[in-house]
């Protein structure tokens, strides 16, 4: 993949007169994505055209007596199809030529679009998470996409499609390094790895190499992770065996499958057979679809720790390689669903800034930090995302947080109000430590949420008329969007008022202490430290 000469960069003569940021950018060349990208994105268009025209031809063939008509029209059909394909290929080529990206000292820039241009700039110091995704079709070609979330007032994820897999890995490492604040820059020549070296090999060698890599990749081996700075500095934390993910997903789906079965039987008794089908088929599709998507997302889950952050690899048909840099996690949840209690499994999900805003349906799987694991494994992962839980006996507190039913250090619903929540009343509550607020909810399915004080965006308290009768209120901590529940139900009214005030104070204090956008830089975050107010 060759970099374009600096024709698209700013004019060197002008840049000397302008501010330093522009001069810096001139040194970074624009790069192109892989030429096959438009085809992998738009293969559907080609298939539709070929299918539509081919179908006409086949239809004509099968109607028999229309054969003579068809043979007259045949040249037109074939010619029309070829013309349409040529136009599409030309459009793809043009759109590829007008797509370019580059990484500077402070930003990643992406330029796309021919008629309506789109310029996307993402600031490196606001990078929240960097993911590498490999959907099925690009994966077969050894390509992957780079996706990263930037906290820029709610903008959606930044996607770079598609790059050679090796190059994507190096790029990800580079982005994370720069986002961490280190001044080191990778040489443009060292990047490329399997990509540029292959350009000089003979065709047969390239083909066999490609075939080997494809086979290894599909069999689950991490072919593209073995790069300089790839997996060398990793420490594996958790590996979820396929049997466990299969069993756990089945158990999670079990209640729904049971309800479905009950509904089918009820309908079968009271209605005709046609209606039964009308209920069974959509319901069955929903249950099986849910099972498959969860299995697909969690298969082969591996979590490891590196200086970049927590690295997660998972997926069956679409593999995902994600990195969650430390300090980006806004809230964490440990959950023990009812059907998993027998095996002692838990699930860990997190609010990562930017994941909640994404437009795809894969949102939920991207917030999952551990789809299923033992409590010990969950603690190991928790320790990397939240190094300081703020209590002396962390294990004990967390165990009581997840499994406890009351009578411990957690502040729970007052006795007089437990009738509002008969099952969970004795258990639901909160505990404020030095660094996080622990929220405990649920009785059948037990949940423990952890919200670091420094990540709280605001505190909300609400009280309806029924709650006022009982003398309780609900307190909610506002964090970025995500699956973690951050609401404490049925807190005693006086305690709730006090919690609002004290939580806001803790938030302000720890935000001042812990403001670090660059976690490797020695001199703290890029944002200038504000002077403390004198008044």
């Amino acid at each position: 993949m060759s970099a374009t000469p600096g024709a698209s960069g700013p004019d060197p003569a002008k840049s000397q007169a302008s501010d330093p940021a522009v001069v810096d950018d001139a040194g970074f060349p624009w790069q192109r994505v892989h030429p096959a990208t438009p085809y992998l994105r738009g293969w559907l268009a080609i298939v539709v055209i070929v299918f539509a025209s081919g179908r006409q031809w086949f239809d004509g063939l099968f109607t028999g007596d229309g054969l003579s008509d068809i043979s007259g029209a045949l040249p037109w059909i074939v010619g029309g199809t070829v013309l349409a394909l040529i136009i599409i290929v030309a459009l793809f080529y043009v759109s590829w030529r007008f797509t370019k990206y580059r990484i500077t000292d402070t930003q990643v820039q992406l330029r796309t679009g021919v008629i309506s241009r789109k310029e996307s700039d993402a600031r490196l110091d606001r990078v929240q998470a960097v993911d590498i995704g490999r959907p099925l079709l690009p994966r077969l070609f050894g390509l992957s996409e780079l996706r990263f979330e930037v906290a820029d007032g709610g903008s959606s994820a930044f996607r770079l499609q598609f790059l050679a897999a090796g190059q994507a890995e190096v790029l990800r490492a580079d982005i994370l390094r720069r986002a961490a604040g280190a001044k080191a820059a990778t040489e443009a020549g060292a990047a490329g790895g399997t990509g540029t070296a292959g350009a000089h090999q003979r065709l047969t060698e390239r083909a066999s190499g490609w075939a080997q890599r494809a086979v290894a990749d599909l069999s689950g081996e991490d072919v593209y992770g073995k790069l300089p700075g790839g997996t060398a500095d990793e420490r594996e934390l958790v590996r979820v065996p396929p049997g466990r993910i299969l069993g756990a997903t089945a158990l999670r789906i079990l209640p729904w499958a049971f309800l479905m079965a009950v509904a089918v039987i009820a309908v079968a008794i009271w209605a005709e057979s046609g209606v039964v089908l009308g209920v069974v088929i959509p319901g069955g599709i929903a249950v099986v679809g849910g099972f498959w998507s969860e299995l697909n997302a969690g298969y082969g889950f591996r979590a490891s720790w590196s200086t970049d952050g927590l690295r997660l690899k998972h997926g069956l048909t679409d593999t995902q390689h994600r990195t969650v840099p430390p300090g980006r996690v806004q809230a964490i949840m440990i959950q023990r669903p009812l059907t998993w209690r027998l095996f002692g499994w838990v699930r860990v999900e997190a609010n990562v800034a930017g994941y909640g805003n994404s437009e795809e349906g894969k949102d939920e799987s991207r917030s999952v930090v551990l789809p299923v694991g033992t409590f010990q494994e969950a603690i190991a992962i928790l320790a990397t995302l939240l190094p300081d839980p703020g209590v002396d006996d962390a294990m004990g507190t967390l165990t009581r947080g997840l499994d406890g039913s009351g009578g411990d250090e957690f502040v729970t619903t007052p006795r007089g109000a437990r009738w509002l929540a008969p099952l969970a009343g004795g258990r639901q509550g909160f505990l404020a430590t030095r660094t996080v607020l622990l929220i405990r909810t649920g009785r059948l399915s037990r949940t423990l949420s952890l919200v670091p004080h420094a990540r709280t965006q605001g505190v909300l308290a609400s009280q309806g008329w029924l709650a006022r009768l009982a003398g309780v209120a609900a307190v909610e901590l506002a964090t970025t969007a995500g699956p973690v529940p951050t609401s404490i139900p049925h807190v005693d009214a006086a305690v709730a008022s006090e919690l609002v005030t004290s939580q806001v104070r803790r938030t302000a204090e720890s935000a001042r202490r812990e403001d670090r956008n660059h976690w490797l830089a020695q001199d703290g975050g890029q944002v200038a430290r504000p002077q403390e107010e004198q008044s």
Binding site: Q128, V500, R516, N517
Partner: protein, 170 residues
């Protein structure tokens, strides 16, 4: 022990302008009239005999319910407007409202991403505006409705300035 959720302590809680009552009442009436017109169609059809099969009780019930909710809204609105209040405390801004359903939102200054001042045509006619405070969380977006336009602009500047002074990383 009081059963009511108390406000976060502050020297001064500022109320919004009473002119908001007029705005809310007008909006309530307009919305109510439209809804009433829509749900009265079966009633009219029933009374004129075009659709006599429609159950009479239902034809009277639905418009009746809508009318009742409009009237109740008109009675409650002045109290609701009077309950809207905000306070600029030392490290954060607190916004509260509600008569039957109390709601309090407290946002530290450093968490404020940006502040919007908006005003629809009805509000502009009365010289009022609405201040929206945005944070990184979709759950925390307090709104102060019913400020005089000049107050709103001043408050926005004040919040923006305090927000920038204490800007914290995400």
């Amino acid at each position: 022990m009081s059963k009511v959720l108390a406000d976060p302590p502050s020297e001064q809680w500022t109320r919004v302008s009473p002119k908001l009552t007029a705005v809310e009442q007008i909006a309530n009436v307009i919305g109510g009239l439209i809804a009433l017109a829509v749900v009265s169609v079966p009633l009219v059809l029933h009374l004129t005999g075009v659709w006599s099969g429609y159950p009479a009780w239902l034809a009277w019930l639905v418009p009746g319910v809508v009318l009742l909710s409009v009237v109740v809204g008109m009675i409650v609105t002045p109290f609701q407007v009077r309950s809207r209040r905000y306070a600029l405390r030392q490290d954060d801004v607190a916004v509260a409202r509600g008569v039957i359903y109390h709601r309090t939102e407290v946002i530290p200054y450093g968490r404020i991403q940006y502040v919007d001042v908006v005003a629809g045509p009805l509000m502009r006619a009365f010289g009022l505006c609405k201040l929206q405070i945005h944070t990184a969380s979709p759950d925390a977006h307090p709104e102060i409705t019913g400020l005089l336009a000049a107050d709103g602009a001043a408050l926005r500047d004040q919040l923006s300035q305090r927000g920038e002074e204490r800007l914290a990383g995400l």
